[in-house]
């Protein structure tokens, strides 16, 4: 039976899709049979970030409506042996999602895969609710910035109130990934520190991802940062993926400018 991770944030543009793509690749590299599903119906972009946009024939709506089988719609990644992708529909909107159909799809995925990542749309409406409905765990993505933290706080509250597991009295695992950490701004006190974010949200820290210009380039070229050599963000995602696979990886300080410089020097040696 596979484990379902919903990647959520509340606020848009904090790095949900980047996180979904990179963690899916990371767990696939670790040997887990992984699928990443784009739940952002009507506004898909996970296909572009993964570099699979020209391979999409059938999407999630086709599968849920019975127009295509799951195996027809799943796209096998050309780089990673264990990675599959299920695209969102670009032409429909979020109202096509329906409880029963979502449950059926997730049950099917859980039979075939070890790790299932669901990339949630921003906001707290129907699309988000369907993403968290049957999740075993949620990965909450935040930026060290007040509005992102407040929106994350809101979605964590909604997971506790609305997810199927929580309603059955079971615990939904909640993990925090802080992205776009800028050491210079943290040093100046213009970004909220990890300790303060953890204090406010009080869920487990899964990882910290530093700001990295390569993320934008990676989206444009369809090669996620985890596949880049010497990308601090890519290395951070790789550590997080290992943690998800049960490997004990110590937390790395991505907040101090000196340490970042030191890391760059080390990675420079291997170029």
């Amino acid at each position: 039976m596979g484990i379902v991770f919903a990647v959520i944030s509340g606020k848009g543009g904090v790095g949900k899709t980047t996180t979904s793509a990179n963690l899916a690749i990371g767990t696939a590299i670790e040997g887990k049979k992984t699928v990443v599903v784009d739940f952002d119906i009507g506004q898909r972009n996970l296909d572009m970030i993964l570099g699979l946009e020209n391979r999409v024939v059938y999407d999630i709506t086709n599968v849920m409506d019975g127009d295509a089988t799951l195996s027809q719609a799943l796209i096998k990644d050309k780089r990673q042996e264990n990675l599959y992708f299920l695209a969102a529909s670009q032409t429909k909107d979020k109202s096509v999602l329906d409880r029963e159909k979502v449950k059926k799809l997730i049950d099917q995925l859980k039979e075939e895969f070890d790790y299932i990542f669901l990339d949630s749309p921003a906001g707290i409406e129907g699309g988000f609710e369907h993403t968290i409905l049957y999740a075993d765990n949620v990965i909450v993505v935040v930026n060290p910035e007040v509005s992102s933290i407040r929106d994350a706080d809101r979605v964590i509250g909604l997971v506790d109130a609305k997810s199927h597991k929580a309603k059955e009295g079971e615990r939904v695992g909640k993990f925090l990934v802080i992205t776009r950490i800028d050491p210079d701004l943290i040093e100046k006190g213009e970004m909220i520190s990890t300790e303060d974010i953890l204090d406010i949200l009080s869920i487990n820290l899964l990882g910290k991802v530093p700001e990295d210009k390569r993320v934008i380039d990676a989206s444009n070229t369809g090669k996620p940062v985890i596949l880049h050599e010497s990308s601090p963000a890519g290395e951070a995602y790789s550590r997080i993926a290992k943690r998800l696979c049960g490997i004990d990886v110590p937390f790395v300080d991505v907040e101090s400018p000196e340490v970042r410089g030191f890391l760059q020097k080390i990675t420079g040696l291997f170029k």
Binding site: I149, D153, R154, I200, S202
Partner: protein, 182 residues
Amino acid sequence: MQVKQYSVKVFEVTIENEEEFLAFARKNSLLLKRYLLLLKGDVTPTIEAFLEEEEIAFTHNLSLQPPNDKPQHFTKQSGLRIIDQLVRSGQEIIEKRDLLVLKRVNSGATVHTDGNFIALSSIDGHIECNGDFMLLKPSSKASIIFNGVDISEAMDEEIFYKIRLENNEILISKYAKDIQWA
């Protein structure tokens, strides 16, 4: 001219027997001195003399109407509600009783209580308390309404404050730099 309004507690006693009343009044004279006695029935000169001697205020022509609906302080349910969870953004807690909140009240969360309010962690959200007492540590983001008055501005440090309502006055004092609970 100066007009003041007071609330007075009144003991209503119906006298059936002079001896019995005098025995009761002698026994409780210390207590009765603090209240106004409303006497019903036959107030004999002996009773009047005794009460005057003991300096117990009394009257026998006061018409008191029992309130039709229950007075306000009785509508509050007694007891304490304890919240041992983070109050997250978008959550709203409405309580008639006293409230003890152990974890944070985050930005975007609302807590409303008709009783007293005590919070042991930082407050970033919105608090409305209609009780007589609050103990809390508001951050600069918090908005605190105590008995209809916005007192957020009065607490500019992120420390514990004690807020009391006494004689229709709101008294705000710093409680301690930080409370060590453990």
